[in-house]
């Protein structure tokens, strides 16, 4: 069976879904179910102490059934990212985490110096670190050498919906690494997800494109099938591109 393997864990779905930006927790939970995702990213934030009745994400998405991937969204330096993931581990023993250290508030591009430093520290502390990064093959190599368990380059800025902007770099990263390569951020529509998988990536992480679609459930389903279709297309060994036509029907017996 064609499974996604990350840090010795195996998953049937190659689609990872973010849980932010949904209009409600129940909408989020339903979209995840439809998407077939087995891994979801979650953020670490303060408990609302003035309202103890506020529902918790864990009441809607069971961490025993769906793998929670705690992230460091909103962290702009290594210190904050490390603090956040140590807290995440304390909540329930999570070792598989998504590191994301941002460097610029407008583009939301990652600060790769801080990201690399954090990857080294977290790996030494026993975390399995999936790393959000820019699409720079050299940096991706450094992250791999620092012990990352998955490389997660952006397709385009977070939430931009622009699709893959730098196909060549993604192909080079694919060529150089045997680690799981998961495109994280910038997907806008199902064809972007399929394209990602056709490039040979191992998975794709999508949040905004599903959560902010006019009809999130339909987009969740579209992404599910796009990832499956793209993966199968990649595995099938596509035909060569030709400049001229090549008839599909035999000439023999033409009337």
């Amino acid at each position: 069976m064609d499974k996604l393997k990350i840090a010795k864990k195996t998953f049937s779905s190659r689609l990872i879904v973010g849980t932010g930006k949904y209009s409600s927790m129940s909408e989020c939970a339903k979209a995840i179910k439809i998407s077939g995702a087995e891994i979801v990213t979650v953020a670490v934030r303060r408990v609302n102490i003035s309202d103890s009745k506020k529902p918790l994400l864990m009441d809607f998405i069971d961490p025993k059934k769906i793998t929670y991937l705690p992230n460091t969204a909103g962290c702009f330096n290594s210190k904050d990212a490390l603090r956040t993931l140590r807290l995440a581990r304390e909540i329930g023993g999570w070792k598989l985490v998504k590191l994301e250290v941002l460097g610029d508030k407008k583009s939301l591009f990652p600060d790769m110096i801080e990201t690399l430093k954090s990857t080294e520290v977290l790996t030494k502390e026993g975390f399995n670190v999936m790393v959000y990064c820019n699409d720079d093959p050299l940096m991706a190599k450094r992250l791999e050498n620092a012990g990352a368990v998955a490389i997660m380059p952006l397709a385009a800025p977070i939430g931009s919906g622009l699709g893959i902007q730098n196909i060549v770099n993604i192909k080079i990263i694919r060529d150089q690494t045997k680690l799981p390569l998961i495109i994280d951020a910038g997907i806008g529509q199902a064809s972007d997800a399929a394209e990602t998988m056709e490039l040979g990536c191992d998975g794709v992480l999508i949040n905004t494109a599903i959560a902010k679609a006019n009809k999130p459930y339909i987009m969740a389903e579209a992404m599910k099938f796009a990832v499956i279709a793209g993966r199968k297309s990649y595995l099938s060994g596509r035909i060569k591109k030709n400049l001229f036509g090549n008839a599909s029907s035999p000439k023999l017996g033409v009337i």
Binding site: G18, V42, Y68
Partner: protein, 72 residues
């Protein structure tokens, strides 16, 4: 309760007055915090959940209680 028996702390960024000799466990109970779904930090140091009963809150402590929420 007399105010002199109370201490001032910062809980999740808000100033809160609590009785002296309150443990972290008492505090969590007071705010109905589901302990299996949170992590607790006192003055930037994570407190092992097994030690919440023994950890007595001191004046001016900065306590953070965090959970998972939706995020990408």
């Amino acid at each position: 309760m007399n105010k002199k028996n109370k201490i001032k702390i910062k809980l999740n960024g808000k100033i809160v007055f609590i009785p002296k000799n309150t443990s972290l466990k008492n505090l969590a109970n007071k705010f109905k915090i589901p302990l299996n779904k949170v992590a607790i930090e006192v003055n930037m140091e994570i407190i092992d959940k097994k030690k919440l009963n023994k950890t007595i809150i001191k004046s001016a402590d900065k306590i953070e209680i965090v959970q998972f929420i939706g995020g990408g």
